[in-house]
Subunit: 318 residues, 2 copies
């Protein structure tokens, strides 16, 4: 199969590219390197079956040219910065909603009709049902990021209804593992490298979150694409486990063998749009035979291991 992966140099994208190449597929990666890293594609670049196109999803012509002839589009490129949505509301609109429209139009123009899309559990806002199933009550958005991903889901579904596309939409919890270079593990690690005696934590530490390892996440997407054959297939993607922010703080501290004073900023939300409790019902994806192999703690440790082995990443972001 010929895959086209937007955000190919990103965290999930580059791990996905490696997996697809391992499986013998050919892959065209598309990335504007705004947050992606060429280094994440070092292994992929050794493959004859891999091609990287440097381009932006807001450049319709570049997209159309790059994805022509592929069988399946993995659309992962996005502004994935949930926390700073209110600093630049246009970013989520442009880089997520408009960009997804461009991808869909490029696909339509090229006769490509299969899309796998990285959505987010944030589309549930602050749900009232836990664990939250895909059929949870009509959500109210609490973040620009969630709102933009919801808009993307709707657009993709309209292309399925209007133009016979087939879609696999994945609502992820936070993903952990090698090459994860933002989010709380990165921030805490980065902060503790600078000052191991103190750690500032947003919120009261009791926000309950769920995480999935990037390897489990990619395996789940692969299983879903193989086995779920409806025109529109929506899957939550997480684990049966949750942890509090303070748990993951403790794991990080233990792993790094430091003893910082921990200062909580207070409040049940770390920032506007931070959901104090995320726990998705993953019965649907599990019914296809997929099961998470890694615990949250293992995901946290794998992320730390990668960061310790790749100090350039911290320097690059400094």
């Amino acid at each position: 199969m010929r895959y086209f992966v937007t955000g190919a140099a990103g965290f999930i994208g580059s791990n996905l590219v490696d997996r697809l190449l391992e499986q013998g597929h050919s892959v065209t990666g598309f990335d504007n390197l705004s947050t992606g890293r060429l280094q994440f594609l070092d292994d992929a670049q050794k493959h004859a079956q891999f091609k990287l196109v440097l381009g932006d999803t807001l450049d319709s012509a570049a997209l159309a040219e790059a994805l022509a002839g592929c069988d399946v589009v993995f659309h992962l490129a996005a502004n994935a910065d949930v926390r700073f949505g209110t600093s630049h509301p246009h970013k989520d609109l442009e880089q997520n909603t408009v960009a997804t429209f461009n991808v869909l139009e490029a696909m339509r123009g090229s006769g490509v009709s299969r899309i796998a899309f990285a959505s987010t559990g944030s589309v549930y806002g602050e749900p009232e049902v836990f664990p939250t199933p895909e059929s949870a009550p009509f959500p109210i958005q609490t973040s620009f990021y969630g709102a933009s991903k919801l808009a993307c889901e709707g657009l993709i579904q309209a292309y399925c209804a209007g133009f016979g596309f087939q879609a696999h939409i994945f609502r992820f919890v936070s993903v952990l593992g090698q090459r994860y270079s933002h989010g709380h593990v990165f921030d805490f690690y980065s902060s503790l490298m600078k000052n191991p005696t103190q750690l500032q934590v947003l919120g009261d530490g009791h926000q309950r979150k769920s995480y999935v390892s990037v390897q489990d996440c990619i395996e789940a997407m692969s299983v879903a694409l193989e086995k779920a054959c409806q025109p529109i297939n929506v899957f939550n993607l997480g684990t049966d486990e949750t942890c509090e922010v303070q748990d993951s703080v403790r794991w990080i501290i233990d792993e790094l063998q430091v003893e910082p004073e921990i200062i909580y900023s207070g409040g049940s939300r770390g920032w506007i749009g931070d959901s104090p409790f995320i726990f998705l019902d993953c019965t649907r994806i599990k019914s296809l035979g997929w099961k998470a192999k890694h615990s949250i703690r293992e995901g946290v440790v794998a992320t730390l291991d990668y960061l310790r082995a790749n100090p350039w990443l911290l320097e690059a972001k400094a």
Copy 2:
């Protein structure tokens, strides 16, 4: 109060403007006259409290200038053409999603934080629960129009969460009454004026729809703005009645005293994205004391009465 109404020269907009002026408010209308009609504002233009600004919601600077100083924004301007979504997918994205973003940004820039928004029952796609409540299961979109309105709802909610806006979001069924100049009543009337011996009807005539009269619709919005005080207030807006397309065909024929041969195109949907059954649960808005005063048949007849009294409207669209 000072109201700002986008789509002021449109069907619902112009009726709303008349009502707000009657109630003694001052109103700035904003319209690009792409589908709105200056004639709809003939009464309003006689009011000293009314000002019309000709402008486009895609023109951020014009919007910002026009809405500065108002208390409440009624954002009604939209591409309301559900049926031809697949002919121009970008239209719903631009004129609905991006335009709504522009309105929200203009409000933020001017310190205006109250918005009333015309959404649609189409955001439910093809629901499985009837009558469909606001908390229906997470919907799957079936039209570009519905997808774009869902995107607008999400954006508005993100502004509420992020910037302290207050929103009243109304999910309308189809609205009928004076100045309604598209949709099935207009199309059937227009067709029967040209040829009273034959009427082409999309679908099998058994699509079940719900309609509300524009006067009831405006009354409901007014009640909701007065009585619902949450940061985000979402209301279905329809009647407890439904009718089949063939019922409304019969009412129109009876009213016009014609006897056409009726030719159904067949199929349970009139077009891609046409929902074969629309029936919203309006318990929430009724709990505020609002009740529809007009039956669907009365709405159909009021629409016909207006079209017969205003033949220029047919000529203008010919």
